[in-house]
């Protein structure tokens, strides 16, 4: 047995990185260490265009602007480019341009942001055009060499051929000539039905390094002379550091510096991270906990409850006269639901490495948005944007935590600025990560439904009370008190997050209540709780009307064919209506968000002592176009792990203004023993591009909660399920 060699960034590579980012654009450099799927050292090889580099040995390097955090975007985007390029897939590798390069080149790579399941759906067109343009130029270069019309030449698997003369030439042989040609003004894209690389269940490009320990994450980064930092931010959000006694720990092993970080945090910098953390744990810190030190989950719940009937609310979706419908109803059904704070709990805690000098600041970090990481770097560094650079590292989980807010980047730059010339790696402890998240927003919802004498739904009022993510992160986007994202999945008919039912009288409104605990975009965002609220309540209404939950929904979906088709696909595959083994019961639901339509059927049993077993999940997805069905299946399966972790266990409680749960011993997440069998049905109907990383999260909880009602007669109206006693009375 031999010990594997660990790839270490060389000083030369680090310096090359500095040079690259300083403006002399050399595309060989992306991040200063080798990676299985990230091509290193394209060196002096010229690009065909911003998206494609072809090396003399025919290696095709595809540039990826979005971040890879496990969702498979890297592979999917490469498939789209390679498809139009007619590349030999076995010779495809990828690399990341840096955010600084993007700015220098007038944002030629477009948006780097990787959230909202947008990685593919918002960039498919321009990346495909990049591939098609490069193919056109390679063919032109070959045609020119042969002195034949380009129209007589064709390319397949990285080889260009001229049929009538029988000549052929490899991409690598004409790449340099092609790079000198002018880009075509317009290129035609293939009809997806002709795809041979895109649309296929290809394996990921980045797997091998994740099986042998060689994949380098941000937490693993090493640089010559680097020191390690551990940090504690004020446990109460909004509080500050009053004082700390550096002298008490400054002589502990390895400790180099004890530093304030902004007004709210303290860091210890040491030779190793373990030394830094050990000293930080021993450091006496006095906090000024500020005005929120008395807030608790109970006080917040009371505050939100008041919003359920408050006169002031912002309307999100309104049809007809809901008050009249309720007043004239044969039967009124009412219920209140609640959704807690939840932490993203990425497996890799927040981290970044920074090198600050008076002339330049560079940051290496796992981020869902390289450009936002660069902006945070520049702001904290006190240097102009042009003197800063951020290098993206593949993420050990993102789920929305590493996208909109880069608080850890701000911290590491503030630390590095106090130790000029020394690379500083900041790694959060799990405890810091759990208690300083950007949490799934806290909301409650009161639903009032009006049924006529035949059990038809004539009116529905959904009053959401609680937190606005947008108000917490992008307050400038709140217009007239309205957070447009808060109604996700409940919007009027349209291409994004629209409600799937035609309800004659409908009112969905929001009474905003923003706790001091900061909210964040949490995989699935507001679609998660909104789908629980609506879809569990639809189940309640169906039950009150004495109707089958599927038939009750179908009757309201005549004008929502895409929602209906995916609901039917799930119901058919699950054989809705057919008898199940004794003690096993079904629940169903559907929703639409992130551009895609999804539905699920859950089969569960509940033992007399209240133990839930989920036997089977059938999940249907219509993402318009399916770029890689194998990876979509994995996203759907993973969505049930993430969504059911939240539904069954997920809650961050607040006491004395701070988050109580500090680690996985109290913040429970799903493990393999709870994992149900998931059957994925992909029904791409074409004509649109939807995301797949998030929408399915939203159907996990309501499908299971509705099945639990079928099994026990008990409604689960508060997340997590752990709060509901399922024992037989």
């Amino acid at each position: 047995m031999t010990s594997a060699t660990l790839t270490k960034p060389s000083r030369r590579a680090v310096l090359a990185g500095s040079a690259a980012a300083a403006g002399a654009f050399t595309f060989g450099f992306s991040i200063p260490f080798a990676d299985e799927a990230s091509a290193q050292g394209a060196g002096s090889v010229k690009e065909i265009n911003a998206w494609v580099v072809v090396k003399p040995d025919d290696t095709v390097v595809i540039r990826i602007a979005r971040s890879e955090m496990g969702q498979g975007t890297l592979t999917g985007l490469a498939q789209l480019v390679a498809e139009e390029l007619n590349a030999d897939w076995s010779k495809v590798t990828t690399e990341y341009p840096t955010p600084g390069e993007n700015i220098v080149r007038k944002r030629v790579w477009g948006n780097f942001s990787t959230g909202g399941s947008r990685g593919i759906r918002e960039s498919h067109e321009y990346v495909r055009k990049g591939g098609a343009a490069a193919r056109t130029m390679l063919i032109q270069a070959a045609a020119a060499q042969w002195n034949v019309p380009a129209a007589e030449c064709a390319a397949e698997k990285s080889v260009i051929s001229h049929k009538s003369s029988g000549r052929s030439i490899r991409y690598g042989q004409v790449a340099e000539a092609a790079s000198k040609l002018e880009a075509p003004k317009d290129v035609a894209l293939k009809d997806p039905k002709d795809w041979t690389i895109a649309g296929k269940p290809l394996k990921r490009l980045d797997t091998v390094a994740k099986t042998n320990g060689s994949k380098v994450y941000g937490a693993d980064l090493k640089m010559p002379g680097m020191l390690n930092a551990a940090i504690k931010d004020c446990p109460v959000f909004g509080g500050k550091v009053k004082s700390f006694e550096a002298a008490k720990v400054s002589s502990m092993p390895g400790v180099k510096h004890v530093l304030p970080v902004g007004e709210t945090a303290v860091a210890v910098v040491a030779e190793t991270w373990w030394q830094a953390k050990t000293a930080l744990d021993a450091l006496p810190i006095v906090w000024d906990e500020g005005e929120h030190a008395k807030v608790s989950s109970e006080s917040l719940a009371e505050w939100l409850k008041e919003g359920l009937d408050a006169p002031q609310a912002v309307v999100g979706n309104q049809v007809g006269d809901v008050k009249g419908a309720i007043a004239n109803a044969a039967r009124v059904v009412e219920a209140v639901y609640a959704y807690p704070f939840q932490n993203h709990a990425t497996m890799e805690p927040m981290n970044a490495t920074a090198l600050w000098t008076p002339e330049r600041c560079e940051v290496w970090t796992p981020t869902q948005n390289g450009e936002a990481a660069l902006a945070a770097t520049a702001e904290a560094s006190g240097l102009p944007l042009a003197k800063c650079e951020a290098y993206k590292i593949d993420l050990g989980g993102g789920f929305g935590r590493r996208g909109a807010v880069h608080d850890w980047v701000t911290q590491v730059v503030r630390i590095a600025k106090q130790v000029p010339g020394t690379p500083i790696k900041l790694l959060w402890s799990r405890e810091e990560d759990m208690t300083h998240g950007r949490y799934h927003p806290l909301t409650q919802c009161k639903l009032t439904g009006a049924l006529d004498k035949d059990g038809n739904l004539t009116g529905l009022h959904m009053r959401i009370s609680g937190q606005s993510i947008v108000a917490g992160i992008f307050p400038q986007n709140i217009q007239n008190g309205r957070d447009p994202v808060v109604f996700q999945g409940l919007n009027a008919p349209g291409p994004e997050a629209s409600i799937g039912y035609g309800i004659p009288n409908l009112l969905i409104d929001h009474a905003m209540r923003n706790p001091h605990v900061p909210p964040g975009f949490w995989r699935g965002v507001n679609l998660n709780q909104n789908t629980i609220y609506l879809e569990c309540f639809m189940d309640e209404l169906a039950h009150a009307a004495g109707k089958d939950p599927l038939e009750f929904r179908r009757a309201l979906m005549k004008n929502h064919p895409k929602h209906l088709a995916v609901l039917n696909a799930a119901a058919e595959k699950a054989e809705w209506g057919k008898p199940l083994p004794a003690g096993v019961f079904r629940g169903i639901c559907q929703t639409m968000g992130f551009g895609s339509y999804v539905a699920a059927v859950a089969e569960v049993s509940v033992s007399d002592d209240g133990k839930l077993k989920i036997h089977r999940i059938v999940a249907a997805t219509d993402p318009g176009h399916a770029v890689n069905p194998a990876q979509i299946e994995r996203q759907v399966e993973g969505s049930f792990v993430y969504g059911l972790s939240a539904a069954l266990h997920g809650e961050c409680t607040v006491k004395d203004g701070r988050i109580v749960e500090e680690n996985f011993d109290t913040y429970t997440v799903m493990r393999l023993d709870e994992m149900p069998k998931v059957e994925t049905v992909i029904v791409p109907s074409g004509g649109f591009w939807g995301g797949v990383g998030e929408p399915t999260i939203a159907v996990a909880a309501p499908a299971v909660f509705n099945a639990i009602f079928a099994a026990t007669g008990k409604r689960v109206r508060t997340v997590p399920l752990a709060k509901t006693d399922l024992r037989k009375a």
């Binding site: 594997a4 099986t211 320990g213 090493k222 792990v641 680690n663 493990r671 393999l672 994992m675």
Partner: protein, 155 residues
């Protein structure tokens, strides 16, 4: 000062005795395939083999490890990524973000070494590592595949 038998080599490390094995492996020895996830032996990202037994290294002080105990990390599981579990992981395209996968693979390898034909129930009770991306179905399928192949019975 401690002597460790790690991936077949005897290694001297100068470190405080309270330091967890995980941080000795990552920061003194410099092998970063073994990950920090929780620090309290909950998530399993730090799993290594000690005399063939899957062990969470984040909560094990180096002073409790002796020179005659054979430690194997993900980097030492096979010389070239050819351990049956690693091959099955690639075949099933198991990893998503990949951060937990070193621990998953080490736990699976130890499970299969001790029990070459685990049932689904065995897998559920032994594979307690946390994966937030949700690779569990593929983890299970890959382990069952190795079991069915009989690869762990050979050599």
């Amino acid at each position: 000062m401690a002597k460790l038998n790690l991936n077949g080599k005897i290694i001297d490390v100068v470190v405080d005795g309270d330091t967890p094995l995980l941080w000795v492996i990552r920061e003194q020895i410099g092998l970063t395939g073994t990950k920090y996830g929780c620090g309290v032996a909950q998530c399993g990202a730090c799993t290594v083999h000690i005399d063939g037994v899957a062990t969470r290294s984040c909560a094990l002080p180096i002073s409790a490890v002796t020179e005659d105990q054979k430690i194997v990390t993900i980097e030492g599981l096979s010389p070239d990524g050819s351990h049956p579990v690693q091959k099955a992981w690639i075949e099933h395209d198991v990893p998503q973000c990949g951060y937990c996968q070193s621990g998953m693979i080490m736990t699976a390898a130890a499970l299969l070494q001790a029990n070459p034909k685990p049932t689904e129930a065995d897998i559920a009770s032994e594979m307690t590592n946390i994966c937030r991306c949700g690779t569990y179905p593929r983890v299970k399928a890959a382990i069952l595949d190795v079991a069915a192949s009989g690869a762990m019975n050979r050599g």
